[in-house]
Each structure stands twice: as C-alpha cells, then as structure tokens.
Symmetry: C2
Amino acid sequence: MTAPSPHRVIIVGGGFAGLSAARALRKAPVRVTLIDRRNFHLFQPLLYQVATGGLSPANIASPLRAILKRQKNVNVVMEEVVEFDVAGREVVLRDGVRIPYDSLIVAAGARYNYFGHPEWEQFAPPLKTVEDATTIRGRILTAFEEAEREADPALRKAWLTFVIIGAGPTGVELAGALAEISRHTLAREFRHVNPADATILLVEAGPRVLAAYPQSLIDKAQRTLQRIGVTVRTATKVTNVEPHQVTVDAGQGVEVIPARTILWTAGVQATPLAGLLARAADAETDRIGRIIVQPDLTIAGHPEIFVLGDMAHCKGKDGNPLPGIAPVANQQGTYAGKLIHKRLLGRTVGPFKYFDKGTMATIGRAAAVVDLGWLRIGGYLAWLMWLFIHLMYLVRFENRLLVFLQWAYNYFTFNRSARLITHPNDDR
Amino acid sequence: MTAPSPHRVIIVGGGFAGLSAARALRKAPVRVTLIDRRNFHLFQPLLYQVATGGLSPANIASPLRAILKRQKNVNVVMEEVVEFDVAGREVVLRDGVRIPYDSLIVAAGARYNYFGHPEWEQFAPPLKTVEDATTIRGRILTAFEEAEREADPALRKAWLTFVIIGAGPTGVELAGALAEISRHTLAREFRHVNPADATILLVEAGPRVLAAYPQSLIDKAQRTLQRIGVTVRTATKVTNVEPHQVTVDAGQGVEVIPARTILWTAGVQATPLAGLLARAADAETDRIGRIIVQPDLTIAGHPEIFVLGDMAHCKGKDGNPLPGIAPVANQQGTYAGKLIHKRLLGRTVGPFKYFDKGTMATIGRAAAVVDLGWLRIGGYLAWLMWLFIHLMYLVRFENRLLVFLQWAYNYFTFNRSARLITHPNDDR
C-alpha cells in the first residue's frame, strides 16, 4: 500500500529565486523543503526606503509560511544550512538535522564586498537586511539630532555630512532619499540647524553612476542628483574608512572627508554558502565567489544541483554574467522549477534564456530613470513607471495597498512617518 | 532693545502627558524645551498589537519633531535627564548640558515591577518599548517555528505554551491576540504541529482579571477569554520564573509549568527619574515610587514643578490614586499647560479634576469590554467602539488611515503581516 515516495526538492533561500522556484513546482509531483534563516521574504529593491524612514520593514517583508500556506507540497524550515553532503545528497542544518534531496536548488543571495577591508563595515554599514536598514535609519536620524545639539561648527558639519560609497542603483536611490529627507522632510523641524545644509556625497570608484545604464540616462541621473542636492564624485577611490572620516583619492592625492554617517553600497560578493557548495560539488567560482553554472543553471557534473540568483554566475547573450537583480532571480527560479517538473515527466528543456525587461532606478522625489531597451526615459513619467512596477511586484496585495498609501502620503506631505531611532541593545 | 526673556518651561517626557502639556502651551508666551530619550511619541495602548504582529512600530509611533514642527515655541531635545537641580532650577542632561527652567513638568512614565525579582525580566520580558514589542514578537513567532521542528512531545508542548503574567488590560489584550494568532493567523501554515494546540495561560495574583472594571464586565471578559482559548488562572501567585518554566502557587502547593514563552505585564512602578526628582525636591513617594502631588499636580513646596501621568500619585474623587492610563495623562498635561499659561496672566486655576470617560479593553478578535459608567457592554459593539476610539486618538492622520486599513485587512483575512523575527545583534 506504499505509494512511490515523491521526488524531494530542497530549496535553500526564500528570496526571489527560491520563491519563484517553489511556485513553479506547485503542480509538480514533488515534496519541496524551503530552507531559510529568516521567517520572511524580503523585497530588497525597496530596502533603501526602510533605511530612510519611508516604509516600515513589514511593508516590504512577507512571512514565507503565509506566502506558501496554500501550496501543500511545500514545507518551510527556518534554519541555517551549514553543510552540503553532495555525495550523500543531503543538506545539513545548524542543529545537526540532515535533510535528503533528489534535486537541490541553492539561491542564498549576495552580500556587500568591502574589497579586503572587513574592518570598514562597522564604520560604513551595508544595506542588505532589515536590521541593516533600521540601523542605518537610526544613524541618519541621530546625525541630525546630534548636529542640532552640537556647538562646534566643524563637528556640526561632520554630523551633517553623509557619504554614500558606491553609485549603483542602491547608492543612487539612497542618496536621492537622503536629499529629500534633508531638503523636505526635516524642514522646519529643527531650531538650531537647517537640515537642508547637509552635504550628501555619492562616491564612486568607476567613471560613472549607474554603470550598467546607457549614457543618455546616466547623464539625466547625474543632472537630477545635482539638482536635488547630491554631490556626485565619480572616478574617486575610497582608500580608508575610519569612525569619523573617509579618505578618498581621485587621482590628485588623497583627501580626508570628515563625516559621521558613512554608508556602503559598493560591490557585491556571493554569500559564504556559495564557497561551501563550490567546495562540496567541486564547482568553479568567479572572482566575487559566484558559482559558474551550466546553461541549464546546474553545476557541471551535478545535474541535480541548481544555483540561482545573485549566487550564480550565469552568462547572458552578450557573454557577460547576468546582473544580480530581481528579474534575473525570478526568471531563473521559474526555469529551475519547470525544468525539475519536466524532467520528472521525461521531457527535456532548452537552456535558460533571460528576457531583459529593462532596468530602472529612482533618484529622490518624483524622478527616476528607466531603460526598457526600446524606451529610455527620465523624470516624472519614469518615476511613475518605477512606482507602478514596484507596486506590482510586491508580493502580497495588502502590502501593495499599504505601500501605495504610504507613498501617496509621503509624496503629498513631504513627510516620512517611519522615522524611529530604535536601539537594539537598549535597556531603556 | 532687549525684549523681556520669555518664561522657560521644560517638559521631561514626550508621552501623552508631556505632549498634551506642550500643546496646551502653544499660545502661551513661553519657550518650551521638550526632552525625551527617544525621537518619537509612542501610542502605548496599541503596543501589544506590535508584539503580536498586527501593526508595525511606525504605525503607533510619531516623530516628536514632526508632531511639534509647527509649534514654534517648542524646542525638542533628544537626550536623557540625569539630574534635577531644584535649587538652581536647572535640568542636567547626560552629556553635561544644563538647561534652566522657570517651570518644570516631569512626565517620564512607568515601567514594570518585577516585585523584587529583577532577574526574572530576562526570562519574562516586559512590554513597554518598541524594542520590547519586537523582541516579544520574535519570541512568539520563534516558539511556533521551534515547535514545528521539535520531535520530543514534551518539549513541543513547552514551545507551544505561552504564559502571560498579569491580567490587567495589557495582559488580557496580549492573551486575546495570542489566541487569535494560534487559532486563526497561523492556521494551515505549519505541517507538523497545529498552532491551535497552543496553551495560552493568563496568570493573575489577584482574584479577578481587569481588576479595575465592574464585575459584570469582568464576567463577560472571563467568558470571552475562555471561549477563544485562553486559560485564565486567577488568585495564582508566581513564585519563580526560570528560563523554561514558571512556578505558580494557587494556595494548594506549588506547580511548575514548563513554558518557553513567558511574558510579563504585572504591576508597574515609576521610572527611576521619579526617585531622582523626589530626592532633589524632597517629595513624598508612594509604595511604587510615584511622586505624591498636590491637587494642582505640583510637588508640595515647589509650585514650579509639576509631575504628571504614570509617575504621579494623584488622588481621584474616591480617594484612590488615578490609574496610569492615557486619558489621565492627557488631561493632566492639558491642565498643567493651561495652569502655567494662566499664572503668567496673573490668574488662578482650581484643582485638577479627572473627567472619567470610561475604560475599555479588547479581548482578541471582535470582542471587547467597555465601561463608560453610564454604559457597560461587551462583545462586538464594544469592540467597534474600542476600534473607533483608538483610531481617533492616534496622533497623526496618516497613522489612523494606515492602522484602519491594516486592521480591516487583519480582520477579513485573519492574517497579520508584521510577523518578522528580527535579530538585534545579528551578523547575518
């Protein structure tokens, strides 16, 4: 009377790739175990809005169990993976539990790369988790509070100097939001300083902001950033980060910038799980630790192991690796889920093809740049598109409605209500 | 050419009392300094909803600067008060700054009282700050996650046992919300345990829940709690709290209850600032550290020092001290602000009189008890009243709308979206 035991799929990571893979398997005769250290899926593209007090963490995070509650073939496990037993086809959890698999999907994401200077992280925090976001939010708001109470003009200026290192989409969006906060949100809230006097410095080692975008949009973005009060310093390398200052080098000798708030959004690398898996499966990795995958997103020699999203080095049409963005992760997850389903039906599937729907970034209030390939625009219309698309992709309906209302409120009142300085280790 | 320097008012604490006092002074010829350790006003009556994932912290917290930005005679200072120099009429801040005053209003609130056992706090966290609320939220959600993965039935039962110590309004509301989470919100989200099997124990040393309410409402509340799955244990003293168990004594010998989640909502005491002020101003305090105030809310012998809200022991009509609830604090703040204004105009003001608009408490989903004196009801209508009144009192319009929508969503879907387990000290 025993039914044939179903094909067992383990998915490591409940981000865009892992969740898409789980959903693509909803009608497949499989038993899925989704493993994540956190109990929620995080909509990372909007994390900078939490860091700048525009949204609450719960607005952009949905419990994984709630998302998957109706998909009966999925079991969610909240735990950390510490080992891949590739020969025995088991994943080992931190508490020692071993979970067997027939197919394994690993999509545990990326983190920031401090270019060999891990000690910089404490002075220039990254923006990857909700805790990072609330920490940064606290630091930004505290800086204005400290400036308000500081009598020494030099120190006051240091408190009002915000340096953002890395001018990719996250850096640009963070700088734009900071400009909006200092120029609009905090206007008239202080009695001794004018928040609009804040210096917002966007430092980029490369020659341009938003390096992956076409030149016409980059020009628009640079102009917009300058108009709203962000000082853009491209071709400027960071050579040191200390508690209260950043040292940069733009080719004419080093310059020390006193700043009490330094934020890091430069360069990414795969999470340590990628290295763990690469060693276990004898897989090749690239310079930033991503696993180089086959055209079907599996590891060479291991057709049962898929690597997706920011952890995967997957070549695009032009031969360059695909960028670490949500659409790539979503499409890869769907592909891997479907491939596993089709394999079980005895069918074959062609290689993964990324369909590029375009990229976009906001630059503060009512301004964005959008590159859809066939359409490249900046300004207000681009911002409306950005708004619409991000709302559409927010996972749960309720979040969509609440985020929309929060944005409408923020837009019309210039206010941001989620401006809480919270203290993780506080006995108050 | 020097104008007469305006009367200087210091308000310590941006809670209900402090904020009401500041607002009552908006047309007075004074210069107000509002000092708070936090940068936001917290709507404490809804804090239990943050602890149970129904609302986000920012929904019930508003930045003090934003609330007061249009009131030009107020200066907000985010800092801790460490000393009252009553003779010199100065308040000393943690960073050594001394701020002079002509009138001083102290309204720094209360905290929980562990009845001489401060070591219990780490095992049975209190619910007073947003950090407390997110900590409790994490513990509750983690307990279900651990139960899901626990093989040992006894341990699984301990993970699914929630003990709430203290059956005042906060304890009752917390127990009701926990019942709703386990019976409705988490239904069908787990594969190995049924969250509805959770034991929710409300332990109260006194003879009744909601001691301050009339007996008919208490009976309604007890019946409702039982109906929704809360086990009420009145006349039961807690004699010990350990990491994984609570020891109680109901008069028939001690009983040990294994439980992995223990929450504390029993008894309050004034914050340490009350003791500091009492010593400095030679003021009398009561058993729980509150300062005994004159009929005009000042300290005997110090007509320039007002003590308001949870820190004040202020007798009501019946001779008993007024309860530590928001309406008392609001009315006291308004009274003190007006009194200071009238004094400056050379007028006198009668003693403070509390106008009792009634009390209310929710008991889980669509049930509440309301006592307005002339009206005592329970059930659905009481719940609608509770809803309406709490929405009306939420400080900012936007919060009102967002909270209303969040509640509507929670009600119709049985879901709670702010279910994040966050880690304060996490390097993940």
